[in-house]
């Protein structure tokens, strides 16, 4: 079984994003970019499934600018076998990405697609569900545990009140939540090896997918900052303030 893992290049999670002065978006020039952390978990899960013998090949794909090949190389250093870069504008919408991925799924015929549950830039949390819809496949979103057996995936899902288990007929879509695994660090020898692994580049237009965004950004603004309040010296003072000043208890 082949596993397809889409990955996204995003502003590194340690960087506090800055809104552009003209309010047109978040400034990404000269900012450190990394693989979306949830996608690292997806890559790790796919590689582990291959190591366990449940999968034979892990193919990573990114839809974005030329620079996204760095992200694909990182994924291959973690253990993915080969990569596909679909060139498009920066940060296309989940609907467009899902349509691109559908085309690749039709070509590659994976038994499983594992994605991160959301990208930490646009926080959409949609691509996996949309791909599943377009393909008519089952979806195990927000996964904290995955077991593959007898043509099925049994997936534990993080839901509002606890954990739910569903069973999906393969091929299927899984989106990774934080607790699914702890991604490995790529070792130097593996980083070197990844440079020699195959990376195919195609234009989104060649796939016949309309990449035009449906949402236009009217403006992007900083949220109103909270101001630090006061420090209290005792529990008695705290309770007095909460009762009589904030009137909240």
């Amino acid at each position: 079984m082949k596993i397809l893992v889409p990955v996204k290049r995003v502003v590194d999670y340690n960087i506090k994003p800055r809104v552009k002065a003209d309010g047109s978006g978040v400034d990404t020039t000269g900012v450190k970019m990394s693989m979306n952390p949830f996608d690292e978990i997806a890559v790790e899960e796919a590689v582990r499934l291959r190591e366990k013998g449940a999968a034979s090949e892990v193919v990573v794909v990114s839809v974005g600018v030329q620079k996204a090949q760095d992200t694909l190389r990182t994924a291959m250093a973690m253990g993915a076998d080969r990569a596909i870069l679909v060139l498009s504008e920066e940060s296309p919408e989940p609907l467009a990405v899902a349509k691109v991925l559908r085309k690749l799924v039709e070509k590659e015929e994976p038994g499983l697609v594992i994605l991160g549950k959301q990208a930490i830039d646009d926080d959409m949390n949609a691509t996996g569900q949309m791909l599943a819809g377009l393909l008519g496949w089952g979806q195990g979103t927000f996964a904290s545990k995955v077991e593959i057996a007898d043509g099925h995936a049994r997936v534990s899902r993080e839901i509002d009140g606890g954990t739910e288990e569903v069973s999906l007929t393969l091929p299927a879509i899984i989106t990774a939540d934080l607790r699914l695994n702890e991604p490995r660090y790529a070792s130097l020898p593996n980083i070197m090896k990844a440079k020699k692994k195959p990376l195919e580049t195609i234009e989104a237009a060649e796939l016949g997918v309309d990449m035009k965004p449906r949402l236009s950004v009217v403006s992007v603004a900083e949220p109103s900052e909270r101001k630090a309040g006061i420090k209290v010296g005792s529990v008695g003072e705290l309770v007095e303030k909460l009762r009589n000043e904030a009137k909240v208890i």
Partner: protein, 308 residues
């Protein structure tokens, strides 16, 4: 204009966050709600003021709100609606993007403000920026943050209930089991007071130090991702970008340093209290009342003081 709200439920009750989605949808036009589950839930939905009609899908395949059948059902009903809305919880986020893809629509998740029928404000970058976006799609599919909209009342309405038939969908998923953390406490996302613990709680056992305080305040208990990752509490306690977004009247943070991703989940609370031994903890920069102290000394004193 009419909006269809997916009214999700848990253990036979409408989720309170779904009632916030009703309030949000009412800003867009008439509100119809879709209940996939027991008749008692449909009856409860009919009593929600502002609901003009309840669509009730009683077929067993919808009982667990699985995305595959439910998205297909929403698509079959979508024709007459301009907006399809759900609470931005696990169900809405699972089901609505799938339905949106089938409708060839780009969904708009986590809406915190409705500007007009096609323009919405939503947080991006873990709430570090707010984007105002305008949709060119014929239908808008959105999930809304319950913290940004008051919950609709649960009594006073009397909407008609209309049964809807099941529609075909790929039978590719099956519900197996669910484990809900059994809690007598209020729901974390909608509680008036939240008492939260971080890495400073030290252990699973010591995390229970917060129990008497939560009892005294009638509060829900939350946690930072660090506390969840350390195994002190299950993931459903997590407040933050990757957990639940809360905005209670009072949020009390114990032993939480205040990482950006945690602040993203609670900074819209009305009053924030932070107790931390570290005077440099970033949580103090957003706290209305801060106290540099050992939480294990403070919590029992607080419980005593509240009894007075």
């Amino acid at each position: 204009m009419t909006a269809l709200v997916l009214l999700d439920h848990e253990e036979g009750q409408i989720r309170k966050a779904a009632l916030s989605a009703v309030t949000a949808a009412a800003q867009l036009g008439d509100v119809h709600v879709l209940v996939a589950g027991d008749a008692s839930i449909a009856q409860a939905a009919a009593a929600v003021p502002g609901v003009a009609k309840v669509l009730h899908a009683a077929d067993a395949r919808y009982a667990h709100e699985l995305a595959e059948p439910l998205a297909a059902l929403i698509v079959s009903l979508a024709g007459q609606y301009d907006h399809i809305v759900a609470a931005a919880g696990a169900t809405g986020k699972n089901v609505l993007p799938r339905a949106a893809a089938l409708l060839d629509v780009q969904p708009i998740p986590d809406v915190i403000r409705i500007v007009d029928a096609e323009t919405f404000v939503r947080p991006i970058y873990a709430g570090n920026a707010l984007a105002t976006v305008k949709s060119s799609d014929a239908k808008k599919v959105l999930t809304v943050r319950n913290a940004a909209f008051d919950a609709a009342a649960s009594t006073g309405g009397n909407a008609p209930i209309e049964a809807v038939d099941a529609v075909d969908a790929p039978a590719v998923s099956k519900f197996e089991t669910v484990q809900l953390s059994d809690s007598e406490r209020p729901d974390l996302e909608t509680a008036r007071v939240v008492v939260s613990g971080g890495r400073g709680m030290q252990s699973e056992e010591k995390f229970h130090t917060l129990d008497p305080l939560a009892d005294a305040l009638g509060a829900a208990i939350g946690a930072s991702r660090a506390a969840v990752d350390s195994g002190f509490v299950p993931n459903e306690y997590q407040v933050g970008q990757t957990g639940k977004i809360v905005a209670p009247e009072l949020y009390m943070a114990f032993g939480i340093s205040g990482a950006i991703q945690h602040l993203a989940g609670m900074k819209d609370s009305r009053v924030i209290v932070a107790i931390n031994k570290d005077p440099e903890a970033p949580i103090f920069q957003v706290a209305d009342y801060g106290m540099e102290a050992d939480l294990f000394e403070v919590v029992p004193q607080l419980v005593e003081e509240l009894k007075k």
